[in-house]
């Protein structure tokens, strides 16, 4: 059993699989609409100079999320 961690804790270049979203309301809805449903593969691409937002790649596209949003997404890290 792999340890679960927050999406914001993935290091650059590391992949993970979405386990669940720990948020509600509009933010949850928006993240789900972008395709961040459980089992989605996601990879951290790079951090902004000030660390926020963070660029992620999933479902064939690049999307930047605020650190605050990334902290609400639980992932299981994948070995490459």
């Amino acid at each position: 059993m792999v340890k679960e961690m927050l999406l914001s804790e993935l290091s650059v270049g590391q992949c993970g699989r979405v386990v669940c979203l720990r948020t509600n309301g509009m933010i949850r809805r928006r993240l789900l609409e972008l395709g961040l449903v459980p089992e989605t593969k996601i990879k951290t691409i790079r951090h902004s100079p000030l660390g926020d937002p963070v660029l992620f790649q999933f479902r064939g596209t690049l999307i930047a999320l605020r650190r605050e949003e990334a902290r609400q997404i639980l992932v299981s890290p994948q070995s490459l």
Binding site: M26, R29, R30, E33, L34, G35, R59, G60, T61
Partner: protein
Amino acid sequence: MIDRGELNNMGYGEDPECTGGAIIALAGNPNTGKSTIFNALTGLNQHTGNWPGKTVLKAQGTYVFHGKKYVVVDLPGTYSLLATSAEEQVARDFLCREQFQATVVVTDATCLERNLNLVLQVIEITSRVIVCVNLIDEARRKKIFIDLEGLSAELGVPVVATAARRGAGLEELKVKIEDITFKQIITNPRRLVYDPDIEEAVALIEQNLPGPVKKRFNPRWFALRLVENNQSFLKDAAWPAWARFCLP
């Protein structure tokens, strides 16, 4: 903003047979080629461009096919009809009031999965839907092949592949629009089933909706918005006066 009243004043009435033309809505995610399809259908030269928010207001044009007139309304590109941006509100307000004879949801064949969320939201509002899988030539180049028949069977609505920039598939799209608009082809859209407690609440609300609401809106869709307490929809300033009395 163009509302029903204005369209009526311009001669585009309820009944496609006897008035100015059938109203066809073009919906879809941003950057899927809605405006290219719009131009190809209407022969107009609505500005196309690859940046967000290009079509915030609705553009409209007309075309004639088999002797019948169609008014095409190009809605802003959205990923959803439920969130809060100005574009989404324009698209949602237009679609939820059922003031059209058919809706074409334009999707990008190169990232179809992302587009299907909006398709599901649209077929939850209306059954008179055609899914247009655009950019099919680009998908082919990327070795992506779409099972159009399978997609149509899964969604329960007609699916047409197009490459609008080259004009491919547009005849078939016009035929499908004609089918839905004038030939009363009945689609059978896949209905999302929610958790039992939600379905129970929705059924209860649906039964008790006031008559005018049932007449103007898809009752199930309306009930779902009440259940989710969608403030952006419920507090919509564009509501007619009668509606305010009907809401909690």
